[in-house]
Every structure is written in structure tokens, then in C-alpha cells.
């Protein structure tokens, strides 16, 4: 019946729906809003979701493996704040960066270890480590919410970097997306993530190193967060740790889930993140151009997330055979 090109509604998955909404919004904004279709505005849209998208890539890897990383924003803000604080108090650049890398690695390992070997649900582990990272760094290592980038430091220069008039974070986002795509699609370990996310017990039975790979995913997510933090500081010439209290964390989950990465694991990929990020970027930009107050912007965003989660629940039902207590 549908062979002649009529859209088969049943075959439409969430990614398709969201992509369609994004296209409709885009066309509507292009027609209705003056200046929307301008090349500079399009670059601004991609840029405004670059850091969000990078964080969502890290989150996607974790979610595909049937986990979640709620410590991402804390790691992002606090690692960079500590780095800048060390620089401002005279620690050499190399040493400061080594400290921060070690710290980020340690938190990633701790997250992974507690989830993989201590069998604590990821949502609790990462919620706790996120609070710990924020509390420890804020109270012990830095003196103020906002830490400035020292004048002339490479992080500041990074923020001014442009190719073809396009800010550097757009390229970093694209590059990371491509690398992650290669990793998930073409490497053995990338495929294993899907096996482990879809059915951890079966994956283990066929010899997939499920636990070490879990640890790897949280370490990856932590490093991706560090990159996102460095890019934020590069653009603003400072990092404000208040961002940990913001809705950024939910926006990251929103981008991943809305693009169609099922929270029950084993499904989705880089394309889903890109679709989710595109929708959010277009939506935020259009709402700002129309001058919708922030309260309503949040309401609209939240309504869309709720809708996406409901659709996700219907299209990707929980797998009763492998679902267990504590899964998110």
C-alpha cells in the first residue's frame, strides 16, 4: 500500500519524527523570521549548540551502554576552573594541565569502577561524584565562582581561532562527532558497546569484556567534558562554576534522548545527537529572535523533552527480558 512513497507512519522512528520537526521549524523560521537564513546566523546556531553537542556525544556513548553520566557538567566546569586557578596562582602550564588530566581520569575511573565492579546504579554514582567534584573543587581548590583565563594564555587564543570565519568549537564538535562515529561503527569495541547496552548478560556470556568497557565509557565521557569546558572558557575568557547549578545537564540528556538514543540502551548513534542538537539549536535561536522570555523558553523545551520521552517509551519499550531493577 505504501510502496508508492507515502510515508509509513509505523516505520517512522523517533529520530525521523524529530528530524521532521527540525526541518519544519527551520523552513518556518526561514520564511517567517528575517535574518534567520543568513549564513552568519546559521553558523551562530551551530556554534550555540557546539559545546552542548560535544557533551551530548559523551553522554550518548554512556547511554548507549545502558548508563548515564550526571557528573558531566560538574567535571566540565570544575576541571577547567581548577586548571585556570592553578595557572593564576603561578603553577607552570604543563604541570597544571597534568594535574587536571589526572584528576579527570581519576573521576572517570571512579565512576566506571563503582558502576562496573561495585554494581551501584549509574544514576546514583554519577549524581554523587558530580556533587563531590563540585563541592571539593569549589571549597578546597578555587576561591571564587568565576575564574578568569590568564591574559595571552593559549585557552584565550583558542577562543579567537577561526577558519573560514567559523569558530573553532564548530570544528571540534564536527571532528569529535566523526571520530565517535568511526569508533561506534567500525571498531570492535564500538560494536561491543551496543551489545553490552542491549543485553549485558548475553554480551558477557559471548566473551565481551563488559566491565572494563563500562569503565572506559565513563573515562571517555569525563575527557569529553574537559574538552567542552576548555572550549567554554576559550570563548568567554573565564569559566563560571555556577553553570553546575544550571539546566545544562538536563539539556545534554534532552539532546541525546530527543534525537532518539533510547535510555534503555543499545540504540542510537552519532546521527541522533546531531539531529537532537539541530532541533534544540534551531528552537533556541528562533525563540530568541521572536524574543520569547526565558521562562517560556524553558517551558517549551521541557514540554518537548516530555513528549520525546513519552514517544521513546512507546517506540522503544523496555526489554522485559533484560531489564532489571535499577536501570534508568
Amino acid at each position: 500500500m505504501n510502496a508508492i512513497g507515502w510515508l509509513n507512519l509505523r516505520s517512522l522512528n523517533q529520530e525521523g519524527i524529530v528530524f521532521a520537526i527540525a526541518v519544519v521549524l527551520f523552513v518556518a523560521a526561514a520564511i517567517g523570521l528575517p535574518g534567520f537564513i543568513d549564513a552568519n546566523n546559521l553558523v551562530a546556531i551551530v556554534r550555540s549548540v557546539s559545546v552542548l553537542g560535544i557533551l551530548a556525544l559523551g553522554m550518548a556513548v554512556v547511554i548507549i551502554g545502558r548508563g548515564i553520566d550526571l557528573s558531566a557538567v560538574a567535571i566540565m566546569a570544575m576541571s577547567v576552573a581548577w586548571y585556570l586557578q592553578l595557572l593564576n596562582t603561578g603553577t607552570s602550564d604543563g604541570l597544571a594541565f597534568a594535574y587536571v588530566l589526572a584528576g579527570v581520569l581519576a573521576i572517570g575511573l571512579l565512576n566506571g569502577f563503582l558502576v562496573a565492579y561495585a554494581d551501584v546504579p549509574a544514576i546514583f554514582v554519577t549524581l554523587a561524584t558530580g556533587s563531590f567534584v563540585f563541592g571539593y573543587v569549589r571549597s578546597q581548590l578555587i576561591t571564587q565562582d568565576a575564574v578568569p583565563v590568564p591574559q595571552g594564555h593559549w585557552v584565550e587564543l583558542l577562543g579567537g581561532l577561526r577558519f573560514l570565519d567559523i569558530p573553532i568549537e564548530v570544528f571540534v564538535f564536527a571532528g569529535l562527532a566523526f571520530l565517535l562515529f568511526l569508533f561506534l561503527r567500525y571498531t570492535k569495541w564500538g560494536r561491543y558497546i551496543y551489545f553490552a547496552g542491549d543485553n549485558p548478560v548475553a554480551a558477557r556470556n559471548i566473551g565481551v569484556p563488559v566491565r572494563p568497557m563500562l569503565v572506559l565509557r565513563y573515562v571517555l565521557s569525563a575527557f569529553v567534558a574537559l574538552i567542552a569546558g576548555l572550549l567554554t572558557a576559550a570563548s568567554l575568557h573565564s569559566i563560571n562554576t555556577r553553570i553546575v547549578n544550571s539546566t545544562l545537564l538536563y539539556d545534554i540528556v534532552l539532546v541525546a534522548v530527543i534525537g532518539g538514543i533510547g535510555l534503555s540502551g543499545g540504540r542510537g548513534g552519532v546521527r541522533n545527537v546531531l539531529v537532537g542538537a539541530a532541533l534544540i539549536g534551531i528552537l533556541l535561536n528562533a525563540m530568541t529572535i521572536i524574543d520569547i522570555p526565558l521562562l517560556y523558553q524553558n517551558l517549551i523545551k521541557a514540554a518537548i523533552l516530555l513528549g520525546a520521552i513519552i514517544v521513546d517509551g512507546i517506540i522503544n519499550p523496555r526489554d522485559e527480558q533484560t531489564a532489571q531493577q535499577g536501570d534508568i
Partner: protein, 341 residues
């Protein structure tokens, strides 16, 4: 001879007594009364968070003064979380060491009203600082945000000039905080008197620098000929300035903001041209006002909640042209001073 001698002795004695008498009079009753009224009194500051320049500056000046008259000074750090602030106030009121003066930096018009009423009922004087609230506190010390907004708008109009596009963009804070709402009202009052100047967009930053950058980018994209932007706080105006820099409009868009007058946050950025004008709070003077009203209330003997005083800090829009070495205070220097002790 004897008579003369006696007279001389008497005269000397008189003279001595005359000299002694003023010494008795110099025993001023003030310091004793002052010490008795203030000694051992507790003062607590509950700001929105301890991690930013204003709160750290207030704490520095208040602590110095309170400890000098033999009182105890404490702070609580709700870290921008309204609930945590409410918890801190509740705990303080019901603890054995209930503060005699509670200084509250209110997050919005209503959240802490009931708690402040409770504090006054328990006998604690309540001071509101910086952000007004719908509550008759014993005193309010801080900016008249409406007036502050007017100063910002006047600075923006001056920064634009007569031959400009006369387009102004606002980056508001949010729609709940009184400082944001009153600031907006003040700006609009001035712009109503200058009908040729137009507000072309007024997005919220939610006090976040990244959001400020994104909305400013869009605003400049839509109106590249904007001549001035008013960002409602120097804490997120770094985002607006990044957007202006990225759009290569430095020097063309006159960025106006407001802040606590900290050197790195305000004066340095005026000096390097990032900000065109900053309406700065004179923090040392504002802290001095708080100290004075605390000392008055503790000696007044009046029950908490008796009188309601408004002490508005003198505000001024500072530009690069009238920047002086003492225009700002230096948080780093205060921290070094505290660390040296």
C-alpha cells in the same frame, strides 16, 4: 608670710583641682555604653552565594568591624540555591546561638519573607542588602535598582550619541529577581523620555555568561547596527562582550553593565574597552552603611521590626574617561590581606 604661704598652697590646690576636674569630665560615657551594647553580639550574613565579589567584599568589611567591637561574625553559603538559603536562615533562628543581626541578600521578592518575619519575632534584627524584598526589614542597604537602571540607560544614550542608529539591546537577568525587574523599569523610564531611542530586543541571560553570549550573538545578527547593549550584571556580561568581539563589533557597540566595582571584574574591563560604562556600587561605603546601621540597631534598644530604614548607596556610571586608581576595590588584595593574618 604665713598667710601668703597658706594662700599660695590654697591656690595651688585649687589649680590642681581645677586640672583634675576636666580629667573626670573626659571620662566619656560613650565607649562604655557602646561596648556594653555591642560586646558579644552575633552578626550573620546570608548572601546568594559566598563565591562572588560582592559577598566576599561585604564579608571582609563587616568581619573587620564586627570583630573590632567584640562581636562574632559568621557567613552562610547557599551557593545560589534558594532552598539552601532558607535552610541556613531557619537553622540560624532556631539555634542556641541565634544571631542578633541577620543580613540577608534576597534571591527574589518573596522567598524569604516568612522566615524574616520569624527572625524578627525571635528578636533578630533583619537587614536586607542589595536586593529588595516584599518585607519591612529593619533596614535595607543597597542600590536603588530603578535609579541604577536610569543611570545605565543614560550612559547607553550618551555612548550611542546623536548620530547613531539609536537602537539599544537589553540582556536582562530573569523575570523573578527584583534587581532585574526594577533595573528594567528604570531603563524604560529614561527611554520613554527619549522616544527616538528604541529597544530592539530584550532577552534574558538567566545570569549565565554562555546564554548571554548566545542571545547577544542572535541580537547582533538581527540588528548589526545596534549602538549599545545593556547587560544587567557584570557576572554574565563577559558573554555579551564575547559576542560583540566575535561579531567584530568591538568599539562599535557600547556595552553598559553594573557590578560591585571589583577591579578585575569592572575597572580592568573598562580600561581595556570591553565595557563602555559600568554603574558601580561603592562596596566599602555600602559595607560602611551596613556597619553603621548594625551599630545603631544594637544600641537602640528597640525591638526588631520597629523601624524601617532605606539606605541607598550612591551610584555612578563610570567610563574609561573618569576611571581613577581608586574607582575599584581589589578582591585579590583583600584575600591576600585575609591570608596574611
Amino acid at each position: 608670710m604665713r598667710l601668703i604661704k597658706t594662700l599660695m598652697v590654697a591656690a595651688t590646690a585649687l589649680a590642681v583641682t581645677a586640672f583634675v576636674a576636666p580629667t573626670f569630665a573626659a571620662d566619656d560615657p560613650g565607649p562604655a555604653a557602646y561596648a556594653q551594647a555591642l560586646k558579644g553580639k552575633r552578626v550573620m550574613l546570608v548572601p546568594l552565594a559566598m563565591g562572588f565579589d560582592l559577598a566576599q567584599g561585604w564579608a571582609h568589611y563587616l568581619k573587620k568591624e564586627v570583630e573590632a567591637w567584640g562581636g562574632t561574625f559568621e557567613t552562610r553559603d547557599p551557593n545560589w540555591v534558594v532552598d539552601a538559603g532558607a535552610q541556613a536562615i531557619t537553622d540560624a533562628i532556631s539555634s542556641d546561638t541565634r544571631p542578633d543581626v541577620l543580613i540577608i541578600h534576597a534571591p527574589d521578592l518573596n522567598s524569604y519573607s516568612k522566615l524574616m518575619k520569624k527572625a524578627q519575632a525571635a528578636g533578630t534584627y533583619v537587614l536586607l542588602v542589595d536586593n529588595p524584598a516584599n518585607f519591612p526589614a529593619d533596614a535595607f542597604v543597597g542600590s536603588d535598582w530603578d535609579r541604577l537602571g536610569q543611570l545605565e540607560a543614560e550612559a547607553a544614550i550618551k555612548g550611542c550619541g546623536e548620530n547613531s542608529s539609536k537602537k539599544i539591546g537589553l540582556v536582562q537577568g530573569d523575570q523573578a529577581n527584583s534587581s532585574s525587574l526594577y533595573q528594567y523599569a528604570g531603563i524604560m523610564k529614561v527611554l520613554d523620555k527619549h522616544p527616538d531611542f528604541k529597544v530592539v530586543a530584550k532577552p534574558d541571560s538567566n545570569w549565565d555568561a554562555t546564554t548571554s553570549r548566545n542571545v547577544t550573538t542572535t541580537m547582533l545578527q538581527q540588528n548589526p547596527d545596534i549602538c549599545s547593549i545593556i547587560d544587567f550584571w557584570d557576572g554574565d556580561a563577559t558573554g555579551a562582550s564575547a559576542a560583540i568581539r566575535d561579531a567584530k563589533l568591538d568599539g562599535k557597540v557600547f556595552l553598559v553593565t553594573t557590578g560591585g566595582g571589583e577591579k578585575a571584574a569592572d575597572c580592568d574591563k573598562l580600561a581595556d574597552g570591553t565595557y563602555g560604562a559600568v554603574v558601580m556600587t561603592e562596596l566599602a561605603r555600602q559595607s560602611g552603611d551596613m556597619n553603621a546601621i548594625i551599630k545603631f540597631l544594637l544600641q537602640s534598644g528597640q525591638p526588631a521590626g520597629t523601624s524601617h530604614t532605606y539606605i541607598y548607596t550612591l551610584e555612578k556610571a563610570t567610563t574609561k574617561a573618569d576611571l581613577k586608581p581608586d574607582s575599584c576595590w581589589d578582591l585579590k588584595a583583600l584575600q591576600a590581606e585575609a591570608a596574611a593574618k
